[in-house]
Symmetry: D3
Subunit: 248 residues, 6 copies
């Protein structure tokens, strides 16, 4: 646990490349922290309208605007279920391009939210170049939001830890989960949010199994003999060191 | 924080290759946890009599037994100051060799102590082959202590996190501190323990500066603007994932 | 595909640290190659009697001999289902120790089997030190089996590719699957073999989900639009380069 | 071998940063696959007119246009010898800059060619920043070409494996050959293509020796005792997992 | 030592992201080489006016122009003390953006200075994105400056070794010092230059301790028993191979 | 260059796993340093009689003693040509096993030779387990030779840099040449020494090409425009940091 215990209404920030990523990869974290009283804010940099909406495109009579509208609706619904605020930057995908204007907009979000932690994609992903770009932007915005000379007078942010949530093929992405979050208590909410993603139904079972596997592993990492049971978990790769008062 | 919150009198285990390592590298952690009510147990695999006692050897009229006695006395004194129990395995150094008998003795310590966390050396150290061997043995003993079939009937251990404490030349050892422990409040004790090491006076200032640098870095990682001040810290490389209930 | 296409009755060798590993991790590969006419040989270095038989030990009235007998029976049954020969070296586990005598026995197996490929554990596994040791021994025996001067006159082995099969927590083991084997057609057999492992029932569902996840990933790596479907797969990390005649 | 065996006239795509790279690094692969009936398409992102034409510049009376014309002629001649189609993007070099327009042009090539495999540069090259950029663009275009929402209605591409061909100083580039292609049968063609590169005669012998060394290594990786001889080979680093039906 | 011993008035180039970096990280190298007769040239890409001038901003009544003027003055004073030429590119910071125009300006500096070695930041720094960008630009400009076709007729540069100087949190930046420079004799100058940085007084002690720690380590790497004493040193990560005539 | 300039008759130590390794991999370094007045000492841990003498074994009527005698003769002849002392430990190969007795014998060599640098094998080699073992032993003996408490009264060694010479398949061994030694002037001697290895004639051309490739690379790393020519070179991976007084 870090030392930022003084900030009254704590908050968390999720930077999602496409409009469904925050659900598969951090839906449990969002719901967990909302339960604990956190304000959770999701920024979707794009709707994933070109690269992650295959099923919608195959419907015929489709336009980019229609796909985006459908994706926005799904994401909004999922965010509502999880209890998160959501904001869409609509930057386009495949390829995503992030202007300095968009970067500064994200800096504004940081300064407004004052997050106690930040979640985004893995630093590498050979299957998806939008994902590491989203993480890069999340980190770059964080650093700018810390700078006294950026919009002087605004309240700068502290040093919120940054976590990479789970990519689709972890080992190809050099992603190693050094942190497991027990999401057993909020699994039902996450599953409901997952089911909002009508256009990617083939992933529902996949990410349910991901949660089960991570549950087994989390349990193993507290010890099989521990009293606490863990059925569902999310894995995270913490990128920044933690500062603790106790090593157990 | 892990979930092992149920064990009444918590404990920590330190596996030190030579008799002074636990002081330079984890003296602050030991004192901190003793203050919090932990039982802290140090195992010194050797006295470092051949490879880390240059100053003593240069005194003349020296024998290995005399060196070992001097080193034992220093280490005992330091442990007393820090509040730790200490046990000497006297396995020899440069090179250290660990028999299965010694390994099983360490397993016995694990089962007796039931540690909530374990500290030992970096996994790699091209300047010192005893150090990574100590860590290897610490990890191997931990796994055996978890096995139901080893001395059936004894209470097996859970899954205590394993941390590598700071080696002398960190970057050459592929050691990356992902965890900082604030030791400001116990710094005086650590410094007193350090000063017990009469034979290695040249390292006193070195490890004082290490603590100061890590203090600055820990402070940076909670945010310069955070209320809490950190003057002295110890860095650790946690090798096993943590299981948490909150990501901030 | 390698160039060793000339060897008439082809064979594969699996070096398993404990008596159930070959099932969870390579049961599909064994069954697949048996179907293709391969002779498949499994060497179990130990029964996993101390470290991987928790459920058996908790039965009460247990001895190491009884546990070993139960584990042998399970493993033999699984091998029969998969169509593999199995040989038990009974070297002990937690910790496993491999004498040169045992190493040379494995060299003899290599020379007898003349494998076209070799499967064993990941090179690193911080949760289990017997696993990487098994892989080390598998590789060392392979190199000795290639040496003209070892038992001169015997037929030396060629250069069979070496694969690491999937460990329990892949990312902690630096294990990256660069090869997927489609096991959809033999899944039923693998599942039957899995169900022989009465003592580790908690892993049945876990490794079923592993096979499903790897199936989804394998499908993605041939292209979602490919005609062929893949429901179950095994992942392997090939350690040695392949020599091919076609890059597609 | 992957499963895309259904595509009738198979094809391969080579993305070359400068106009000679495809010859030194993949001339053997091009000729080999042409012989097997593949359509081979080479895209040269630049002519290498500024950074890889030193000999031409030293002739005197040189202009960039003259250098480019000379380089184009050499490359066209080499492509003819190897049997490849070649297309020049003329994006400039040292530094190369790739606009989104150029990226989409490459996506069009992917959709037209429907490659069964893709060859480009190493992911890292501290001696040449155009090289990793070419690979990045090759990978980014591949992913866009897979996206249903990019130019909806066009035939999307499958998941062709991506290989990094051999850079000049392999170890400095973190390039590891996990795949060797036997090019003994087409070596004469490759050497002829190499000799088209009049401006870089100092590299002829260098890349001939590269092919010989890789030949020796390929031979070693199928086993010294194997019947097949390999005199010349090319090394490749496959970046994407393979999906196979046989592990030998 | 490399072979470029023929160039008469030798020179070194330092590419500093912000206006104080060259002091903390390479002040000793600058002063050492100036003493040896080198021309030392420092390029400050920005003043660090937004991200590294917190103390100045807190003074009140501050504008970006005022901060930049103060930072320029400090840097100029430090350069004077060390004996270096300094040039300010004023590209802005947090985030720094480097246009091709700025890149070519740096190429011009390379061709003018003809450096025998180049110093810049670590290749990775998760705490500061301007730093790795500066190194990237330093390397890209070096390669362009080597290209005969860039501004034909100018004298191209050779192959000066590139070193990454020490970042703030070395282990988080994958920075490993493979080269230590003894700066004991010029320490006083470096400390004077450090004290010019009025706006970052909190770093004076930090980088003094860095120099002391590196001094101890350098001493250890020549052997404790060596006659030569080293009290202060700077660590560097050499990125390019050295070409030597003697291995001791 | 390191600071150990005070030791009068300088020396170098080569630890070779098998009796021919020192020739292929460091013959040029040996001859170069002998010319410069160094005492060069080679320790061959084994003759490579089982694993690296295939051609001899195929002669028929062969025994291990005959093979060893032939290998010893070849190695002695090569050492004579290069000007090195040679000592055979005769520890056996495939697999090599190094007892503590053999380790301490190597420590004695260190203390006798007082090397200014040490050459041995790559730290990793999946094709040959004797090679990394030799390097491990070379490093372990070096550290023991530094220990005041080992045979107190003897002169301890300083901190000679350790280099890994070139393995057969560099990239598979994670071996990166950070140091090139120009061996153009002694190439004829190295080639003569190579030709002593009658039993491995297939490697003569291979290692001649290695020297040529490294020559081209060394030349590139001092700059194509440098006056000095380099036709043959050896690559080394320096494992320990260098301490220098000049960065060019």
């Amino acid at each position: 646990m870090t030392a930022n215990t003084e900030t009254p209404p704590r908050a968390g920030l999720v930077v999602s490349a496409h409009s469904a990523d925050f659900v598969w990869r951090s839906g449990g974290a969002i719901a967990t922290h909302v339960r604990q009283g956190y304000r959770m804010k999701v920024v979707c940099l794009s709707f994933g309208e070109r690269g992650e909406s295959a099923k919608l495109w195959r419907k015929g009579e489709m336009t980019e605007e229609k796909v985006k509208a459908a994706r926005r609706e799904e994401a909004q619904k999922a965010a509502d279920i999880l209890g998160a605020e959501i904001e869409f930057f609509d930057l386009g995908d495949y390829p995503m391009r992030v202007s300095d204007e968009a970067l500064f907009r994200l800096v504004d979000v940081y300064r407004d939210v004052q997050p106690a932690f930040v979640l985004s994609h893995s630093v590498k992903d050979p299957y998806n170049f939008d994902h590491p770009l989203a993480m890069h932007v999340a980190q770059e915005a964080r650093v700018i939001a810390q700078a006294e000379g950026h919009n002087p007078g605004q309240k700068v942010v502290g040093a919120p830890p940054v976590y990479a949530f789970e990519p689709h093929q972890t080992e190809q992405c050099e992603w190693i989960p050094n942190t497991f979050l027990d999401i057993t208590d909020v699994w039902d909410l996450k599953r409901q949010a997952i089911e909002c993603m009508a256009g990617q139904e083939h992933l529902w079972a996949y990410y349910t199994r991901v949660a089960q596997q991570r549950g087994v592993q989390a349990k193993r990492n507290i010890g099989i003999t521990a009293a606490r049971n863990i059925e569902y978990a999310e894995g995270y790769m913490r990128l920044t060191p933690s500062v603790v008062g106790d090593l157990s």
